[in-house]
Each structure stands twice: as C-alpha cells, then as structure tokens.
C-alpha cells in the first residue's frame, strides 16, 4: 500500500509561475524526501526534511512538513521549462534495515513556455 499520496496528479503551469505539490501520508515518519524524475530516467533526490523540522529551503525549492496533519508540500518558485518532470514524495521510517523509504504515486508537472 502507498504511504504517500501526492496531489494533484498532474499540474500544468506557465513558465515563471510557482508550482505547489502536496503529499499526505498515513503513519509516523522519521523524514520525508522529495525526488524528481525526468521522462525515461531514474529518480534524483531534491530535498529531505526531518520529522522535527517544519520548513526547509534549497534554491528555488521550499518544503514544509506538518506532522500533525501528516502532510508535506513542495513549492517550486519561478518555474522553468526544464522543471517539467514527475515529482515524488517518499516517507522514511527507521527499521532494522535502516531508513526505509516508501514512495507516493507522483505529480506530473508540465511547465509551458
């Protein structure tokens, strides 16, 4: 079963606009990560936020985490055509085998010129 569910499933915006994607999850987590996937390629790590953090920034990315609502959001500011990709949240829980990541179903972002 999926731990994380992204919303919306697909998003289309104009270049220069901001893009916001949301992720909801069901159980307690140790961290939450966002990954990006370009068509036909592997996933690339974008940013990690720990369960005791509320907000984190990296370049044009801003991630928030609300553990009381079991939700996170990824904001991409001043989007570019090159940001067109699928974005996945992944919730991390510590097990005997280390940090186990469970991925959501993803948001497809299209940034149009």
């Amino acid at each position: 079963s999926q731990q994380g569910e992204e919303d919306p499933q697909a998003l289309s915006i104009q270049e220069g606009e901001n893009a916001t994607m949301n992720c909801s999850y069901k159980t307690s987590i140790n961290n939450l990560q966002w990954y990006r996937q370009n068509s036909g390629r592997g996933l690339v790590h974008l940013i990690l936020i720990r369960s005791n953090e509320r907000e984190k920034h990296s370049g044009r990315l801003r991630v928030t985490l609300d553990t009381s609502k079991k939700s996170s959001s990824l904001l991409i500011t001043a989007s570019r055509a090159a940001d067109t990709a699928s974005y996945f949240c992944a919730t991390g829980t510590f097990t005997g085998g280390g940090n186990k990541l469970t991925f959501g179903t993803g948001t497809q972002l299209k940034v149009e010129l």
Binding site: S1, Q2, G4, N31, Q33, Y35, G40, R41, G42, L43, V44, H45, L48, F88, A90, G92, G96, G97, G98, N99, K100, L101, T102, F103, G104, T105, G106
Partner: protein
C-alpha cells in the same frame, strides 16, 4: 552522483523463463534497493539489502529473489517471469548514515 549502473537497460522475455537484472554501484554504499515502477502505483519496494548477504523483503517481493555476494553488486531474479512483472525496475543505493537514495537509470522489462 553515485555511480549506479543497471543492466540490461531493456529486456523482452517470455512467460515462465527466469530473468536476472543486475545493479552495480561504485560508491561502496552499504544499502541497496530494488523498486518497480508501474503507472498509478509509483515506486514499490521489492527487496533491499543492508550488507553483503543481508537482504530483506519489501512490499511486493512475491516471485522475486535477490542476492548480494559483493558490496557493489545486487542481483534481482524473477524466478519464473509472468506478464504481471512487466514493469520498469530501478535499483538504488544509500551510503552510511545518509538517508537519500541514488538511483540507476532503470531496466524496462517486458514479459510476453
């Protein structure tokens, strides 16, 4: 980025045949993972390894086995391929106490 290569990149096989996918990493990462990606399901964990000869099942392990005889290699075997195993398979690795995963480019497997 971690050097992770998957082979083959594409494979077409017939139902009932065994298939082995290979993942090779050059970063001396302790942890390695196999995921499958299907439309509407995102990435689902098949098996993972937390050291040489140390492996455990993920959420969709039925019909799959893994082996890790060396730190750098993690093999995924479909014992008797079925059409439901048609998917894109991704290998990933993680080093030490770092939590982020580094992914390979994937293997597109078609079972006819």
């Amino acid at each position: 980025d971690a050097g992770i290569t998957q082979s083959p990149r594409h494979k077409v096989t017939e139902t009932g045949t065994p298939v082995t996918l290979r993942c090779h990493q050059t970063e001396n990462h302790r942890y390695m993972y196999w995921y499958r990606q299907d439309p509407g399901h995102g990435l689902r964990l098949i098996h993972y390894s937390y050291g040489v000869k140390d492996t455990d099942k993920g959420e969709v392990s039925d019909g799959y086995s893994v082996s890790r005889s060396k730190t750098e290699d993690f093999l995924l075997t479909l014992e008797s391929a079925t059409s439901s195993q048609t998917s894109v398979y991704f290998c990933a690795s993680r080093g030490g106490e770092g939590e982020k995963l580094f992914f390979g480019s994937g293997t597109q497997l078609s079972v006819l």
